[in-house]
């Protein structure tokens, strides 16, 4: 079985999953902006790559992702709109904005353009898939390392505390609105970068890419937690990346066994997430079942005596 492609996909999508991790786990805010910002990153990157600047394209996608997150943050903090609704509103706005970026095109081809992947093609000579995977690996390691370090700094700590106990953050004289916006900006910047990288890798921009992508991000986070447990933020970041890779390996395996046609992809994703999420509940149920069995047996013994 081809392991390289799923691992490469897993790595590229893991950056998006890290963005979801930041908003969903660290900030404790369900953020649906992701579905819009991933396409925004892809769109901005596609247009700038077509103009011949692949690296500037990646940088620009980070900036616009941050702006999208900031917008959601302002809706939540200044206009006091419900968090889920704020994310949906930004996501909806981005549907149109993405078309503005591409000049109305739903699809943009990057087949002849220079990208970060074509540049690093010769890292592993004679093997394009392996080069692509190594490129993805390097980028993922850099992003993860930056995030791990960031959340050990004072601003990072403040963002973590905001998700934990907002009142306490205000009592420590930190502007909780600001930290929320910052967290959302950073999360969506990661998501947009992920979209940009995927766009460059598949050499194609697709406006419908974002639909249902939040669940993939959540799947990665939750699979990671099921494997590594919920511990520190550092472990969480690493486990999310690995969770993303595991997820894509599972999907590849399922595809190999011809388990479902290509349109069954999203249903398969949802089922995987449900199974991963239900691990703790099933474990508890099993423990309870054992206790009940034991109690019943001891009751029988007492009767006979």
């Amino acid at each position: 079985m081809d392991f390289i492609t799923p691992i490469q996909l897993g790595l590229l999508y893991s950056i998006m999953a890290l963005g979801v991790f930041i908003t969903f786990r660290i900030l404790d805010l369900p953020d649906l902006t992701v579905e819009g910002s991933v396409v925004l990153g892809m769109a901005v990157c596609a247009m700038i790559t077509k103009a011949g600047h692949p690296y500037l394209a990646l940088f620009a996608s980070i900036i616009v992702g941050a702006l999208a997150g900031l917008f959601t943050g302002i809706l939540q903090t200044k206009l006091k709109i419900n968090p889920i609704l704020s994310g949906i509103l930004t996501m909806t706005s981005l549907y149109s904005i993405n078309f503005y970026v591409t000049g109305g095109l739903a699809n943009v081809a990057l087949t002849k353009e220079r990208t970060i992947f074509t540049d690093l093609n010769s890292i592993i000579p004679n093997s394009k898939p392996l080069s692509y995977m190594v490129t993805a690996l390097i980028i993922t390691i850099i992003v993860s390392a930056l995030l791990i370090i960031f959340f050990k700094t004072k601003p990072g700590l403040a963002i973590r505390a905001t998700g934990d106990n907002e009142d306490m953050v205000r009592s420590s004289s930190i502007n909780a609105n600001f930290t929320k916006c910052a967290g959302l900006a950073i999360g969506n910047a990661c998501v947009a970068l992920s979209g940009a990288l995927i766009g460059q890798q598949q050499m194609f921009f697709d406006s419908g890419f974002g639909i249902g992508i939040v669940v993939i991000g959540l799947a990665a986070v939750i699979i990671g937690e099921a494997v590594f447990g919920k511990r520190s933020v550092t472990i969480g970041i690493i486990s999310t990346v690995i969770g993303s890779i595991i997820y894509y390996l599972i999907i590849a395996l399922a595809r190999r066994i011809d388990l479902f046609p290509s349109y069954g992809f999203k249903l398969a994703t949802a089922l995987i997430v449900i199974i991963a999420l239900s691990f703790p509940a099933v474990k508890d149920w099993w423990e309870l079942h054992k206790i009940r069995k034991r109690a019943k047996e001891s009751l029988n013994n007492i009767k006979y005596n």
Binding site: K152, T153, D164, S173
Partner: protein, 269 residues
């Protein structure tokens, strides 16, 4: 240090639920004053704290901290100089983060600039501070605060609010949720920290003994007004019974004022 001038706050004005929470409160605290506040439920004690902290804005009047007008300042800006501890041990700390990280956050605004939040210099300071609490917490700095008991969390909260040497410390029944022995320990720690740094403190309590024993001044509130203000010698000599007598005297005086008001109305009719 703290000056409240003609502070008024009414909730739901002009409706059936109207509650005059604070009525013309005038209060002056000198630096180093330790004021205990007692009063029945609904007297306005927590509301007073809320207005000082900026959780909501007052209808009329002015609030001044160390000469600075903070009447309309937002809450997180005021908390640069005001520390507050709540009755609920869960409220003052971030449960998912370690003791070290919590202390670091509380110290954020006043600490020296550094890249990493947890560094050796601050670590030493936190270790010494935790050691002085005498609760064994200095060996558990990497434990998540959510795993500590209520008393330990309140002790950490106390440390967090005093570590940045605030100008004013507000204690809102902070031992009410603790068992008597732990409450005593937390009160000891309170006294120690407040004395060391000479922090102006206000403490709400339902325990009249504590209120009389601690601090140099006692306020009794009723119906949004301060009805008794006793300090110094008079306070240290006062017993619980004397205080209760004085309180019912003052309340009765008010009661008779209402009576006269009603009878006056009757005559007019």
């Amino acid at each position: 240090m703290l000056k409240l001038i003609d502070v008024n706050k009414t909730f739901y004005p002009n409706t059936a639920n109207e509650k005059k929470a604070l009525q013309s409160i005038n209060l002056t605290l000198k630096k180093g004053d330790f004021v205990t506040i007692v009063g029945s439920n609904g007297a306005g004690k927590s509301t007073l704290f809320n207005t000082i902290c900026g959780n909501f804005l007052i209808d009329k009047g002015g609030i001044f901290l160390d000469g600075e007008n903070i009447t309309v300042m937002p809450d997180y800006k005021r908390s640069y100089n005001i520390g507050r501890i709540f009755q609920d041990p869960m409220k003052g700390t971030a449960p998912g983060m370690t003791i070290e990280e919590n202390l670091c956050l509380a110290y954020t605004r006043k600490a020296k600039r550094s890249f990493f939040a947890l560094n050796r210099r601050d670590y030493k300071l936190f270790y010494e501070l935790l050691k002085s609490l005498d609760l064994g917490l200095e060996d558990r700095m990497k434990v998540k605060v959510g795993q500590l008991s209520g008393g330990q969390r309140q002790a950490v909260s106390l440390l967090m609010s005093t570590i940045s040497s605030p100008k004013l410390l507000l204690l809102d029944e902070h031992t009410a949720a603790l068992d008597p022995k732990t409450a005593e320990k937390v009160l000891q720690i309170t006294n120690k920290l407040v004395d060391e740094k000479n922090i102006t403190t206000m403490m709400i309590t339902h325990n009249i003994n504590s209120a009389l024993k601690m601090g140099n001044r006692i306020l009794v509130m009723d119906e949004g007004k301060i009805v008794l203000d006793i300090s110094g010698e008079e306070k240290s000599k006062m017993t619980q019974d004397e205080l209760l007598n004085l309180y019912s005297q003052k309340s009765r005086k008010q009661f008779s004022n209402d009576r006269t008001l009603f009878s006056a109305n009757d005559e007019n009719i």
